[in-house]
Each structure stands twice: as structure tokens, then as C-alpha cells.
Symmetry: C2
Subunit: 122 residues, 2 copies
């Protein structure tokens, strides 16, 4: 496929941490059969974002959107991700590489989280 979505998450030491992200990748892939949907991590877990993009490019992908699966926009999204994206753009000048805001900034995601929070107490 020529298009890919890369779900970009923080990573953690505990393997259990990645479970929701794997389910998210599967759900997203089921809704975008026209795209390769990959999961990449900033730290502590693999694959890294550069390794993931290298593999996608080797497979013939020409257009990638990176979706930060983060709740808030802190240093990782303000500094680390832009640096990684700049390096990737230099390494793959022919690749159309874009990013979108963090999932936690999406109003529908926030509404779903609020609905969940409200059910925590009877």
C-alpha cells in the first residue's frame, strides 16, 4: 500500500502497557483497509518511529500520517516528535509526511473519556 498511518505512543517498561495501543491499531486498521497501520514508540518499547518509517518506505509507502497517541501535549510532542519528523523529512525527501494533534485533544475522545469518568461512582 502507498499510504500508512503510524500511531505514535510513549512506551513503558511493563508489557501490559501496550495492550490498548495494540487494540487501537487493530481497530484503526479495520477502518482503513486502504492503509498500512503501524504502531511505533518514543522510548522503552520497539519499534521506534525511525525504524517503522524506514520499513514502511522500504515497502513502497509514499504518504505517512503520524498520530500521537498521547493525552496531553508536553515535551515529547512539543520537542521530541518535531525533531524526529525533521530527521525523517531529511532522510526521505520524497515521502509525504504529516502529523496531527494528539488524540487527547480531540473533542470526541474527550467526550468519551468524560462519559467513562462519570460512571466511576454510582
Amino acid at each position: 500500500m502507498e499510504k500508512a498511518l503510524v500511531l505514535f505512543a510513549h512506551g513503558a517498561r511493563a508489557a501490559s502497557w501496550a495492550e490498548p495501543f495494540k487494540r487501537l491499531r487493530e481497530l484503526t486498521a479495520s477502518q482503513r483497509p486502504d492503509c498500512t497501520v503501524a504502531l511505533a514508540f518514543l522510548e522503552l518499547m520497539t519499534p521506534s518511529l525511525p525504524d517503522t518509517v524506514a520499513e514502511l518506505v522500504a515497502e513502497g509507502v509514499r504518504e505517512i500520517a503520524i498520530v500521537p497517541v498521547f493525552l496531553g501535549q508536553g515535551g515529547h510532542l512539543l520537542r521530541d516528535l518535531p525533531q524526529l519528523v525533521e530527521q525523517l523529512r531529511t532522510a526521505y525527501p520524497a515521502l509525504a509526511l504529516s502529523t496531527v494533534p494528539a488524540v487527547g485533544e480531540d473533542p470526541d475522545v474527550l467526550a468519551a473519556m468524560a462519559a467513562y469518568c462519570t460512571t466511576a461512582l454510582p
Copy 2:
């Protein structure tokens, strides 16, 4: 009020990071007028969870549910939060203190995140 929901988040150095959590607190509070809804942080931001619970108890709250506003269940939820909860139960034996799974484990939250991810590429 006698009931409170405490939205428990990681915290970060960048102030911008807290914005979605503040909106989440407001949204949740608007849906639960019978509860105090507070935001507490594990690290790097204030108030801490112990300070938040101390204040709620001082205000007369008798029942608190802690909602981890985390995407995945890593060391912070597997170890740090249970330790904090144990300390709080010891400090406030009369308080009904409960926790629920992380927001990222909720199927509706995952579905909303997947819907967002699918829109990242035209």
C-alpha cells in the same frame, strides 16, 4: 458534597500538557453535579493525589473514586497508584476509596480514538 471523583493524571513539565485534563475535569463535573470533580497528578504537576484527597476529606467528602487518566497500564498504575491508595486507606480509614481501570482500557474511549486516527489521512 459527600462524593468526589478524582481524575488522576501523570503530569508533565510543560503547562500545555494539562489542558485536555482540565477540559476533561470540566466536562465530567458538568455531567456529575452531585460530585466534586478534582484533578490530581502523580508527578511534575500539582496538586498531588494525597493533597487532593486530604482537601476533599477536610471538606466532608466520604466517598472517592479515582479514575486513572492514563492510556495504558504500566508501572504507574501497577505499582505507584496502588501504593498511594494503600497509604490513603491507612490515613483515612472511614473514607470509601475506590479505583477503576485506566480510561484507555475503556472500549468507547478506544473507539473514539480509532475514529480520530482514521481521519489523520484523507
